[in-house]
């Protein structure tokens, strides 16, 4: 972004990568897949790079408003400094925080989740996909809580999957009734409380009930949890857990 700003250029959209997308090896693949999609669709985009910092979401969900506010205000200063208006992000947690919790603090942006953005590119014809790769494949989609219930985005990722000519199969609990993967609310960073079972195992079992060939996710944390769950069921070899962006990128051999 700094380079574009120096050249007095304004990107169509700022791609907010998020911490998982920047540092986690698995999530980086999602980041790259989405960046390739943006390039393929000739979207002019920028990233903040080293000027991006955690939105503060994990600290806020853990109960630490101080750390959250400091992160939020620093980020808002950077974003407003570049006069950013439009943001797209591959992380539903960043999406929720930027869209819902930053406006109170002076950060007003039009924020989209990458599944919404991809769906729009497809609808506008800026991006085309052929179903070949996933044609007729059974794909089950796991709703991330912070995209679904938290922000009522249920259809955009499903529409993208349908455009791959894939057979979208729903789990017992889906959409507003979807079951959490177990990572939200800062659970990602701690051991679960004692119980009968881990939440991601429960959710993976629900996914397996649909006899899918792929599990689709739309959140780097859900992806980690579902991948772990699939490993636990010893299906690692034949049941890939892929982000919606990766499905598109693979279909197009990006």
């Amino acid at each position: 972004m700094a380079e574009m700003a120096a050249e007095n250029k304004m990107p169509e959209v700022l791609f907010w990568v998020g911490c998982a997308g920047s540092f986690d090896d698995r999530a980086k693949k999602i980041t790259k897949a989405f960046a390739k999609i943006l390039q393929k669709a000739e979207v002019s985009f920028a990233v903040l790079g080293t000027e991006e910092s955690c939105t503060g979401d994990p600290a806020k969900r853990a109960g630490n408003e101080f750390v959250f506010m400091m992160q939020a205000m620093q980020n808002i200063e950077v974003l407003n400094g570049y006069e950013i208006h439009k943001i797209v992000t591959t992380c539903p947690h960043c999406f929720n925080t930027l869209a819902n919790e930053y406006p109170d603090l002076g950060g007003n942006y039009e924020v989209q989740h990458h599944t919404q953005f991809i769906n729009k590119l497809l609808e506008e014809g800026r991006l085309k996909v052929e179903g070949g790769h996933f044609k007729g494949k059974r794909i089950t989609y796991h709703d991330p809580c912070y995209l679904g219930r938290a922000n009522q985005v249920y259809e955009a990722p499903r529409e993208v999957i349908r455009k791959l000519d894939a057979e979208l199969v729903e789990m017992r609990r889906c959409k507003s009734n979807g079951l959490c993967c177990g990572a939200g609310g800062a659970q990602m960073y701690k051991e679960p409380e004692p119980g009968r079972k881990d939440i991601n195992i429960e959710r993976t079992e629900e996914a397996l009930e649909t006899k899918p060939e792929y599990v689709a996710a739309a959140c780097p944390f859900c992806n980690t949890m579902m991948t772990d769950g699939v490993k636990n069921s010893e299906r690692e070899g034949d049941l890939p857990v892929l982000d919606v962006a990766e499905l598109i990128a693979q279909a197009e051999d990006l």
Binding site: F23, A59, N96, N100, L105, A150
Partner: protein
Amino acid sequence: MDIHFGIQNIIFILALAAAIWAFARQWNKIWRNIKLGKPLDRTDQPGARWKTMARVALGQTKMVRRRYVAGFFHVVIYVGFVLINIEVAEILIDGILGTHRILQAPLGPVYDAAISFFEILAVLVIIACVVFLWRRNVQPVARLRSLSGWPKRDGNYILVIELVLMMALLSLGAAEANMNNLNTEGWLVTSQLAPLFSGLSQEALHWVERGAWWFHIIGILLFLNYLPYSKHFHIIMAFPNVWYSRLSAKGKSDNLERVKAEVQLMMDPEADPYAADAGGNGDDEDERFGAKDVQDLKWVQLMNAYACTECGRCTDSCPAHLTGKKLSPRKIMMDTRDRLEEVGQVIDQKGHWEDDGKSLLYDYTTPEELWACTTCNACVEACPVNIDPLSIIMDMRRYLVMEDSQASAQINTMMTNVENNGAPWAYAQADRANWIKE
């Protein structure tokens, strides 16, 4: 019009006045308790609020979602309750004036149709109560099986009372159907029930009729005064509760204003740290970050506790509960109400609040429950009356972390990383864009 004003009516008026007085007294106490919460303005977008109330509370839309059996029979009891109350209004007028079915003569056939309709509803309500008693006791559904003690008894009392009241109403009509001087032919159900009392003399029928009438109305007045002690208070509180429920996206968690003011001050190079009243309002100084006790919560959160009817749909959809963790959103709401009632009792006894050494957090709800929450909003989504257990969980977590420093080592590590490295993991900020080159 046939008016027989007498001693019965005087007794009736006194009973009615006593019932209203006793209810008003409890009502005032409950509002006093709710107002122990912190202020929160939820009067924006009145149009959207009325619409939500019409849809969710009046229209029961969340009640019937995915829970078809419970949803259907709940609607039956709800419609029965609302509409049979029209007949109760007539009973009240009769009781005060000494008339007998005052609306029958002026309304004619419309009256007979209405009574027939109410009688059918009464039969449906009886069926629904039996189904619900079955679901609570004989083959309990999971979310109800887990109740024990007072909450379980409370649920059964409500159903039995409703069942008995409906039977009294039908007995009333069935007795009247046998009385010589009354015109009851058009009443669909009680004309069928008439043979039950056909062997009785006119004198005995009169006593059955009076007995059923009095039993029914006194039952209603007592039931009214049972409500404030019961989960059944939801029949009233559901409406304001939905009206005042949050309209913004469920994912939005409120930003603590006081923290916002302090951090803004910290980040403002022009700020004078010695200026008076730096943190906003001076009288906020002893306000806690987050919630330890019910007084730290907002009034809407306390109203939520009185609107909860302990149906357990929240807990039934909670991922932590489903996998055997201690957290139960229903328990969070029941804890909040129980603690608030306890605080209210201290105020009743002493005339003002005096610290009793207890608090919602620790004495009612444990940190283990709070830390099991994934903030997934399933409980908020599931609640038929838009209660928000998650906001209470979050406020108590805030207290745990910001006031009591009770975060686990792992959570503390994450928070330190966010603070120092701008990411929840210990990676260098300089490596943030490395993915581009990889």
